[in-house]
Every structure is written in C-alpha cells, then in structure tokens.
Symmetry: C2
Subunit: 536 residues, 2 copies
C-alpha cells in the first residue's frame, strides 16, 4: 500500500512557502476588481463560496491544486467513502476502523459508494419512519394513551453538539405540537433545569451514546429515570435509545425503541446518523430529515471533483491550509449571519478541533508543522458589537468564514428606512468582508484599519433542511481534507483519555475509596485538599 507523505515532503510545498512570503495585497487600489470578484467564486449543492477576499492569486491557486493532486486528497476521500480503513495509526495500536459517516446519507443513488453501510443506514431510516408513524397515529403513546409531545435528548459531545446545532438551525420548521430539550452536562443543574420545564408524563427520553458507557449520559439517564419513578411512572415506558449494536445500552427491555449507530461513524461526524435523525424526526417529521440527508449527500459527491474550483469542500480546506500553514494564522472564526446557526460554530469547534488537534502523523511520527487551528465564532451581526474590534484592529490576524442567506427562514420581515431586516443583515455581512479585506487609512492612528484580513463567504438562498445538510457535509469534508493534507488521523481522539483516567482517580480519592502509599502527597490529593473537596 502507498505511503502518504508529510506535507513538508510534498513537491509543491517549498513553492507555496515561497509564494507565502508575498501574499496578495487586498488593500492595493483596484485589488478587489469586478473580474476577481467574478472569478473567485465556486458553487456546489446550493452553496456559493466567494473567496476574492483571500490573500492569494491564480499562481497560489495553481499551487494549491498541485498540492491537492500531489497529496491525493480527492483520491483519499474516495477511498474513505468506499470503506477504506482510514482511522488508523500505522505501526501502532489504534482504532483500525472504516470512516463511513458519508454512507448514512448515500441513500439517493442506485449504487452507493459503500453498499453495506448504506444498507444499514436504510434499515435504521425504515425503523425511524415506523416509529414516527406510530407516534403520529397514536399507536405509540404513554400508558394513558396520551401522545408524546416532548423529547429530552440526552447525549454529550458528538451526541449533543451536532444534533443540537441542527435542531436550532431548523427550529423554524418544527412541528408546533412538539418540543425538544437537551441534557448533556454531568452538572446536575443541567438536568434539574430541564426537569422543571417538562411534563414527564408526555415526554420521551432519547438516550444517545455509541458506546453505551458515556459517564455523563448514563448519569443523566439515571437522574431522569429516578425523576420518573418519583412521580410513580415507569421510565421504560418513556425511554428510547440510540446506541451501538451490542453495547451495554442495547437492551430492549429498558427502552421502548432502539436505533443503531455503527463503529465506522465517529461521534463528531454522527449528526446525519440516528444520533441526530431520531430527535430531528420527532421535531420535524421524516420528510425534512430526508431532505437534510440529501443535501449532505450532494455535498459529499461534490467533494469528489478533482478540480478545486469545482469542489468547494476541497477549496475551502486548501484556503484554510494556506492561511494556517503558509500564512501562519493559528485560529479561524466561523461567523454565521443567521441567528438559527447560533450553535453551529460550537459544533464545528468540536468537529474540527477534535479531528485535527493532533501532534503525530498517520505513522506515529511527530508532525513538523502545526496541525488544526483553534476554531471559534458567534453569529453576526451580534459579533460586530462584541469581538469584531479585535478582528479589525487587533494584533492577531483571524481568518474569517462568513455564512449567509439571501432570504430569511420565517419570511416575517418589515421594510424600515428603505430596507428589510434581511437586507440589513446581508449588507452587514458583505460590508464586513470588504472592511476586513480593504482596511482604511486615517490620519488618526486609532481610526486606521490595516486590512488584509483574509475572509471568505458561504452564501445560499435560504437555510432549509437540505441546505443545512449540505453545509454540515461541507465542513465535515473540509476537516477531513485538511487532516489528509497534514497527514494526521482525523478520526480518533486519544487526547481525551488521560483526563478520564485522572477523573476516576480523583473521584476515588475524594470518596476515600483509594488507599495508596504516598497518595496523600500526590498532586491529585494536594489539589483535592486545596480545593476543599475532600471528605472531612
């Protein structure tokens, strides 16, 4: 089998390093010409990517195309979609798994890329459809025959952030008779706050954990089950499960219904599996869920185009590599001009940073270059009144990814002073992109804007379920392409293990359950004492 190379060993790498010494100057007169605006725009699956405000020119783009080709980025994506074992560290113990989140939505063509996994996905969709019909037709009700009108979605990390951000994004389309709450944190106040707001008698509890052993999720499930018992209700008549087949949670006696996810789907890539689909189906109905999946599948297929200007996930990935690896910017801000996307950056933060926050290559070697950036962001225009000061005039340069829509979701808008709110929203997005790129001179140094702050715009007509699916898949593929480029394994998360082990040890010491020589002098015990958390 072919050996994937470190980025520094790719032939075009030194050429790009050279080009990065003199990146395109966005502040020079006429830099943002109509021709450049027109040319630096690509589209796929209903989403336009406008990148004239990046610090590059045709020569850099050609170099990035060579980089894509020489790294075999599209080839690796194709292999991934077809079931290759991409989750692996060669030569060391590792997860050794396929990476097939794309198969969950590869349901709309006759010949899916990986038929086995798409077949499993279809079976789960069929179960979901039956479940939703049973709810709709009052076949599945509470013990008194009343319909379930509320769902508590219990999960954490990949089983929480993605589903929650999509739920919020599509809330405009939800069925009015149904509501959803989320519990994730082991903080008991998280569950307590939700339990005060729901009527348990008409509530379904959707417990989501691939392993069936996530501490936070099982703890919250227990808290909620005891709340049922305290009201004289049988929790088994209210709980459903999304888990791996054969996990400790795969127990029909304890759950009304069970849906499966599979070990070839990583948590942070699982929003289009049953992890997201069960809750979304409850909220929206089955058809919008299928549209969401179809949007994602369209983007997955666009990600197999070899030309970067016809492949927006690949292009966006390479623009990120240009900014991060070659221009040296260590963070990236995702700023959606859409209140519905207010949790999308938090999801992407997980998807990106848990995937690419790594220090060893796919062969266990220390990486020579920086890997994944710090991703953060909040919606515009809110952010304009918050942290944009630093974006415009700070000493850190933050590449920005704007997301916008030409039309609103609700369509409830008013023209005030000659423009609608939606027009004001989009006008602000466009203006920010230009302001960051072009800057402005001023004789008052405190009113000077240096410009040359690279940014791009993702633009679609309206945030529908289909566009949301495409947007999600766009970012998933972007992260995967960047991981390939940095030659790291974007699909494991060994970095979360140490904290888990130490937390168990601290808990034991706090509870007096661990008696060890020298434990009293250990950092753990010192910290417990200092924090006044020990048993008196």
């Amino acid at each position: 089998m072919e050996r994937w190379q470190a980025l520094t060993d790719i032939p075009v790498y030194p050429h790009l390093v050279g080009l990065a010494q003199h990146p395109f100057d966005l502040t020079s007169p006429g830099a943002l010409s109509p021709a450049r605006m027109h040319q630096y725009c690509s589209s796929a699956a209903g989403i336009d990517l406008l990148y004239a405000a990046q610090r590059l020119n045709d020569e850099v783009l050609a170099g990035l195309q060579e980089l894509a080709d020489q790294c075999g980025l599209v080839e690796q994506f194709q292999q991934m979609r077809r079931g290759a074992i991409m989750n692996r560290i060669h030569g060391f113990a590792s997860e050794e798994r396929q990476v097939l989140h794309t198969a969950c939505r590869d349901l709309f063509v006759e010949n899916p890329a990986e038929p086995l996994a798409s077949g499993q996905a279809k079976r789960e969709i069929t179960k979901l459809r039956a479940f939703l019909e049973d709810l709709e037709n009052d076949i599945l009700t509470n013990v008194n025959g009343r319909p379930f009108d509320t769902m508590i979605h219990v999960g954490i990390g990949g089983s929480d952030l993605g589903p929650r951000s999509v739920y919020e994004a599509l809330r405009a389309y939800k069925q009015p008779k149904r509501q959803v709450f989320f519990v994730s944190n082991v903080d008991p106040d998280d569950a307590a706050s939700v339990l005060r707001q729901v009527n348990l008698a008409t509530t379904l509890v959707n417990v989501v954990s691939k392993s069936g052993s996530t501490l936070e999720t099982l703890t919250n499930e227990s808290l909620i089950r005891r709340a049922y018992e305290a009201q004289g209700l049988d929790p088994a008549q209210h709980c459903i499960a999304v888990t791996g087949e054969g996990s400790p949670m795969d127990s029909p006696a304890r759950y009304l219904r069970s849906f499966y996810m599979f070990d070839y789907i990583g948590g942070r890539y699982s929003s289009t599996s049953m992890v997201g689909a069960v809750m979304l189906g409850f909220s929206l109905g089955i058809e919008p869920v299928l549209e969401f999946l179809e949007g994602a599948s369209l983007m997955d297929r666009a990600a197999e185009e070899p030309k970067i200007q016809q492949n927006i996930p690949l292009l966006q990935a390479l623009l990120g590599v240009w900014n991060h690896t070659f221009l040296g910017h260590s963070t990236v801000a995702v700023l959606p001009y859409s209140q519905a996307l207010h949790r999308f950056s938090a999801h992407l933060q997980q998807c990106d940073m848990e995937s690419n926050g790594k220090s060893v290559s796919r062969y266990g070697e220390s990486v020579a270059l920086k890997t994944g950036p710090i991703l953060w962001g909040e919606p515009g225009t809110n952010g304009q009144h918050a942290f944009y000061q630093l974006l415009h005039q700070g000493t850190e340069i933050v590449p920005v990814e704007f997301i916008g829509f030409r039309r609103s979701q609700y369509g409830e808008d008013l023209e005030i002073e000659g423009s609608t709110s939606q027009q004001k929203l989009v006008a602000n997005l466009l203006a920010q992109s230009l302001a960051m790129a072009m800057g402005k001179e001023d004789e008052n140094p405190n009113r000077r804007f240096p410009g040359n702050r690279p940014n791009l715009i993702l633009l679609a007509d309206r945030l529908t379920p289909k566009i949301m699916g495409a947007l999600l898949a766009l970012y998933e593929a972007k992260v995967v392409f960047q991981g390939f480029c940095w030659n790291i394994n974007s699909f494991d998360q060994e970095g979360v293990q140490l904290g888990k082990v130490l937390a168990g040890r601290v808990l034991d010491l706090m509870g007096g359950r661990r008696e060890e020589d020298g434990a009293d002098l250990s950092p753990e015990m010192s910290l417990i004492k200092r924090a006044k958390m020990g048993r008196e």
Copy 2:
C-alpha cells in the same frame, strides 16, 4: 501629568523576557508538590484562584509584582474608580470619557470612590425598586389589569451578551411566575422566533441602547411594536427603555418607564448598570440584584490591593500577560464547569476582545508587542467531549481558565456509583487541570501527552447572585489591568466603525439609492452582484 510607558520600556521587562526562556516545567517529577499547591492560591470576595498549574515560580511572581508596581497598575485602577478620564488617546481625537462602571455597584460603603456617579446609580436603583414594586402590587399592569409575566429584552453587544449571560447564570433563582426572552440580531428570524413563543398582551418589552440609535435594536423594536399593533395593542403600554439621558430614545411618551445609563459606562462593562439590572430585577426581584451588585463591589475593592497575591484580578491579569506576552500563547480558553455559565465565555469574549484588541497605544503609537488574546470557551464537561483533544495533544498551546463550584445551584443531585453528579463535575475539572499540566508518557506516540499546558482554577462554593457579581467584576478588572499593562485604551471601539459605514453604503447600493460615478466598478457593487443581492 505622568506619561504611562510602553511595556517594553518598563525596567523589569527584559528580566521577564529572560525568565520566559526557561519557564517552570510542570511535567518534572514532584513539580506539583503539596507545598506549591498550598502556596499558589489566593482568594477574594468568596472566590479562590488556584494557580499551581501555571508555568512560573517565585522568581517570576516577584517579577510580575515588579511589573505591576512599575506600570502603576493598581494606581491606575484607583484613578479609574475615582473618575479619571481613562478613555482617551492622548494627542488625538478620542472619546475623552471617565470609566465608571465600578460606580454602579459602589453602593455599600459610606464613602464611594466617585460619589457623583454612585449617586446617579442609586437614583436608578430607587426607580427600579419602585418599578418592581408596582409590578408586584399590580399597580403597573397591562390595560386589562393583568400582570406582566414576560419580558423581551431587546439589545445587542454590551446590551445583550452580559445581561444574557448573567440571566442564564442565575436562572435557578428566577421567580417562577416570570420569564425572559432576548432579541438581539438584526436577522428577522431572531425576533420572529421569539414572537411565536410569547403572549404579547402580558409582555413587557425592555429596549436597551445607550446611544438610542443602535440599528439592530431600533429595527427589532419596530418589528415588535408592529406586532403589537397587528394585534390591536398599544406598544407604548408595553415598552420600557434603558438608555442614555437625552438620547433619541429618552422619550417618556413612547415608554411606560425609562431607566438611565451614563456615558462613563461602556457597553461591555454595563451589566451591573440598568442595562442588566432592569431585566434581572424583573426575573429575580430586587434583593438578588443588590446581592449581585454587592459581590461585584467587593471584588472591585479587592482589586485595589497592592500585593498581587492579595489581589486576584491583578494576579489573574498578570498570569495572562505572562502566558500571552512572555510565553507567546495567542489565545485563552475560559472553561466553566457549570452549565449555568454556558454564555459566560461569550460575554467575556466581548469584554476582553473589544477592550484589548487594539494596535495603538494610549498615545497613538503602534504597539511593539501583541495586545489582547483571542478568548473563547464552552462549559465542561461538555468541552471534554469536544475540543479538549486539541488542548491536550494539539500543536497550539492554549492557556486555560477553569471555573468551578463546590455545590450545585438546585441541590437536586443523586449518588450514582459512589459519587454525586456535582462531585463528578468537580473531579473532572481537577483532573483536567492536572492532566494538562503534568501530561503522560506512553510508548505509543499517539497516546503521549506532552503536558506543560498552563491553566488556573477559579473556585467558589456556589454560583449565587453575589458570587456571580464577584466573578463578573473579577474579569472586568482583569481586562482593565491587562489593558493598562499593554498601555492601550481598553474603553473605546473605533474598530467597529468602518463596517458600519460600509454597511450603509452597501445597503444604499443594494436599494439603488446611490448613483455614483464608477459605483458599478466598486468592490461593493461587484460583491453585491456576485452575491446576487442587487435589485433586479
């Protein structure tokens, strides 16, 4: 008047640069000794700051004390509290204002630092008390005599993020009969989504804008007023205002009640003014609001201690300067182990980045060193399942500020497998602090943790209104101290102006209202066309 110096001109600066070449190694055996844990801990106003997991020793601490003394950090803070014109760029046109957010809560001693401003704050508190009593006693009701049970808080930036984060933090204490919604974004879907959830007939609309001219807020106010009119209700019977005296919104005919804020309080520092207090009073009642203010005032006074180990805002500020300026880490993560603080990092992001994301000194000179960091964060334990991978094993080192509480807010908890959820929560916080500091060797390179990731812990007994006030004031003072240290003006925000100007221009061009020579070839027009946002 004395001239404040650039950090690079402070005598102790080169000494600290030298010490930063070999920062304390947290991974060496015995580094986190009981003595270090015990010694590296300070307290104020009910909050402990544990900083043994910072990369420093006594010599660095002594250097940081010298830095504080030589920069006159406490002296400047004292001047600020006493009404000096700290919001100024010497030699250039600037806001030329006092900075007196601390005066809003300096209500609990006989001799406040700035009596005039504290007197104004007291008068507003008296008005607020009367307003809340009138609501309570059904003196202020809707036109049908029904009590107001809902408030829509309309504001953006400083009039939104701070108040909203404190509201969420203290939701456990809210009066069950009252609920609050927030509308901030000019995105029409933001207001539409809230308007679907409330009964306007029993709703108060709290419009918050210091200038009385904030585009988003006025637009949303208009949207909401028209929703009242569409229901045949008189909006003047439902709207109240928080604004500057004499602003365009200071118009009793249009508002049931008006509360004032003053131009010596910046938006991002305004949570303890009427900007936060009116909404919080509606939700919680007057007494918790006074406790909140008292907690903040206690921390303000602690911030005047000259010794850094007795002044936790100053100490925390200097630890941040050590990590950012001397060790070169460009971001900082604030990770509260408390679901109630889920929006606190978003508020701090504004408070910190809008204050210190600057490139010129208080004398209009370009700064030689990097100024404010990028601040981001989400609550733990959620974050552990999201971006902590990068914190532990990524190539970017992110200094972390943990926040935790020994007890939960609701007190509704269960012992599962030998520990309560609250114990699990705190154990995780302590374990993460140790894991980041100490790291772990492993023969599998993918399971190796390099450690030496600096972090600190803020710990209090319980997230009460008083502790929330102290925590907020702690961060406000931290930001102010860092701004003094970098010799920048932390109180203006010129960097938001260009985007506003360009947005107006883009809106005009979109609406066809601007006819200029060459407008068709301008970047604005090209982008509008490319975005397909022009009038057809």
